[in-house]
């Protein structure tokens, strides 16, 4: 089944054509440059930009997949979570096309997409990683930090999530405090690497003793903010590499320790991790080390474009729903949609 997928959950306008796990095309028009100036995502800008780009992005996705409209079997679109008015643009377009071309409509949770990213394949079906459920799934990005028990296709159980700030958001905020601009994750990674990832400050690791699998990065951010107030601007600039490194370490160390706890609680040692922060090579290294210790495996999105928001992952997540005929007549946007098996009911 050929699926046309659309994602406008935040600041990327994305469309793709997929068949099963194979990506035939994956077009992303990023608004990051547009938003960079604003230091974040600005909702109505996002909406207007999505509206201006979406037709072109879809046309291009169809063209570069070398398919025609008659070859498309279903249209999948992100229902949530995300920015309400941005989601609306994608949903409206998908609904319109579904009526126009008489194609069934599939609603996808953006987080399902991030999980399926790790198993995406190119046109030739590579890489050939066999899916062996269950997995301990994680999404680590600017808007999300979640643990999901991925029992099988379409079967998810949310195990824990951030109670306040997401991991990527914490990194972005620390970066802003250090004067590194937006988004700051990649810059922090580079600075930390120059400091050989040492941790000379030992900022607090929140929620490690909470007993559950939830995260809270607001406290870490707060303590970093008040720490920076105690040192001079000169000191801050002199110690930039080490501050960035210690902060990143506090975030990643918390994620790793919680992951270890999740592995112990669920007995599942095979991980699937998606989301923008997985572009960080140091985090990947730490996770590989962790799973090795527990004799497990870890899968990340194979190419960089799949770590961030994209539509190919939405198409792949729609694959099993399309097979089972989980189609919808209409789709409501759900800005704070939670991942669960219920999301897959008709």
């Amino acid at each position: 089944m050929n699926i046309l997928a659309i994602d406008t959950s935040c600041d990327e306008t994305a469309a793709a054509v997929t068949v099963g796990r194979k990506i035939l095309s994956n077009v992303i028009y990023s608004q990051v440059l547009l938003h960079k100036k604003w230091g974040g995502v600005v909702p109505s800008l996002a909406k207007r930009a999505h509206e201006e780009r979406i037709d072109d992005v879809i046309d291009q996705a169809i063209k570069s997949a070398h398919v025609a409209w008659k070859d498309i079997d279903a249209i999948a679109v992100t229902q949530g979570p995300g920015l309400a008015i941005a989601l609306g643009v994608g949903i409206d377009k998908a609904t319109e096309l579904s009526h126009q071309y008489k194609k069934p409509l599939i609603g996808i949770n953006h987080l399902e997409g991030h999980l399926y990213s790790a198993f995406a394949q190119n046109r030739n079906g590579n890489p050939k990683i066999e899916m062996k459920f269950p997995y301990l799934g994680m999404i680590i990005s600017g808007g999300h930090t979640e643990f999901v028990l991925w029992k099988n296709h379409l079967e998810y159980e949310l195990l824990g999530a951030t109670l306040d700030d997401a991991a990527g958001e914490a990194l972005d905020k620390a970066g802003k405090l250090l004067g590194l601009g937006y988004p700051a994750g990649a810059v922090i990674e580079r600075l930390a690497e120059q400091a050989h990832n040492v941790d000379e400050y030992h900022f607090p690791r929140p929620m490690l003793r909470s007993g559950d699998l939830n995260f809270s990065f607001a406290g870490l951010k707060t303590s970093f903010y008040y720490f920076l107030k105690t040192i001079s601007e000169e000191e801050k600039n002199k110690r930039l590499l080490y501050l960035a490194s210690a902060f990143q370490e506090a975030v990643f160390d918390t994620i790793c320790k919680k992951t270890e706890k999740a592995m112990e609680q669920t007995g599942v040692v095979n991980l699937v991790i998606g989301g923008g922060v997985t572009a960080n090579k140091y985090l990947r290294k730490k996770m590989r080390k962790l799973t090795k210790k527990h004799k497990g495996t870890v899968h990340f999105p194979s190419i960089k474009i799949l770590t961030g928001d994209n539509a190919a992952m939405i198409g792949i997540a729609a694959w099993k729903k399309a097979e089972k005929g989980y189609f919808l007549d209409s789709i409501d946007r759900e800005p704070r949609m939670q991942i669960s098996s219920l999301a897959n009911s008709k």
Partner: protein, 349 residues
């Protein structure tokens, strides 16, 4: 909440000097007619309460309060705190049974945010006792059955009716604020600690959250005709999102996280008159021009509660918000690592 039959039954019992175990905004309470001396005596004996210890009363509004106590120059602060989880102590006008008053001739006044109690006091149109349903010296109850189990068979007979709301949320008993002297004094600390007019002290994130819930309860009723906008200011890490989580909890929204990344999240609520909760964070907004692109004005509709963090950046938005909405300004000041001073003011034109 209270249906008419139940209300009528309660009124009959109260009129005949009976005792009722009933839910309240804090813990389960033991209720009787505060002007009926025999009923009050019965209540004191059920509770094993030492004679001479005062007991506060539930009222249904400021008119009733005026008939019971001398408010004089305390009117303004009284109106800031009430309704809410507070017991306010003021000089008594001796209109209730004397056993409820203190030796200094003061009376504790309650005006809770609790529809069932409010409806009952209003229908009965006399003050009712507001004491926790427990044996003196023992802890209060969040489940009605817990109190009943504590009573001897003989005392059980003195209870005429139990209104069982199941398990109540674990709110502490009310904060007791003594306004009878020159300055405001706290006699017992509940969940919300006023420190001066419009000001509260929070000593933990959980208290900040409860304060959020309290102000949401207090101001959400305004949202029926116009949107209610909470503008929250405070440094990074002051607890703005924690406060927003408290507001959300009142509206039945449990999963509130930081909206910084997307600027705002829209939530469907579980509340009878407020349908939408919008939680915005303007942290990432830097230029004035951006406000025309924000689209927040589209949400300024009745039945909506909006909480805007970093509201001090909302400058240009402020005028359009002011024209259409009720505005409550909240300022969170960092005192120590855990303590915050929180100022709450309704902004009126």
């Amino acid at each position: 909440m209270a249906n008419n039959d139940e209300l009528q039954r309660c009124i009959d019992i109260l009129r005949h000097g009976g005792l009722i175990v009933a839910p309240s905004d804090t813990v389960y309470g033991l209720i009787c007619d505060a002007t009926n001396e025999n009923a009050v005596k019965k209540l004191i004996s059920v509770k094993n309460r030492p004679w001479g210890k005062p007991i506060s009363v539930f009222t249904d509004g400021f008119n009733m309060i005026d008939t019971l106590v001398k408010t004089s120059d305390k009117e303004a602060i009284l109106r800031t705190l009430l309704p809410g989880p507070f017991t306010i102590i003021l000089p008594s006008k001796n209109k209730v049974c004397g056993l409820l008053e203190s030796e200094r001739n003061t009376l504790g006044i309650r005006l809770p945010i609790h529809k069932w109690i409010n409806d009952l006091v209003h229908a009965y149109s006399k003050p009712l006792t507001a004491t926790s349903a427990n044996i003196s010296g023992k802890s209060p109850h969040y489940e009605a059955q817990g109190f009943i189990d504590e009573l001897s068979a003989e005392k059980k007979k003195l209870i005429d009716l139990v209104i069982d709301f199941g398990k109540l949320p674990r709110n502490k008993p009310s904060t007791i604020v003594d306004l009878s002297g020159e300055t405001l004094q706290l006699l017992r600390q509940g969940d919300i600690l006023p420190s001066a007019k419009h000001s509260y002290t929070s000593t933990s994130a959980s208290e900040t959250k409860k304060l959020g819930l309290y102000i949401a309860e207090k101001y959400s009723s305004l949202g029926i005709d116009k949107p209610v906008v909470f503008i929250v200011e405070g440094e990074m890490g002051a607890g703005k999102t924690v406060l927003a989580q408290g507001i959300g909890r009142y509206l039945g929204v449990a999963n509130i996280i930081s909206p910084t990344y997307v600027v705002y999240y829209e939530y469907k609520t579980h509340h009878e008159s407020i349908r939408t909760f919008l939680h915005a964070d303007l942290y990432n907004i830097e230029n004035v021009d951006e406000f025309s692109h924000l689209g927040l004005e589209e949400y300024l509709k009745k039945g909506t509660v909006i909480c805007i963090e970093w509201g001090n950046k909302a400058g240009p938005l402020f005028d359009s918000i002011k024209k259409t909405s009720h505005i409550v300004s909240i300022e969170i000041l960092y005192k120590t690592e855990t303590v915050r001073s929180i100022t709450i003011k309704e902004i009126k034109e």
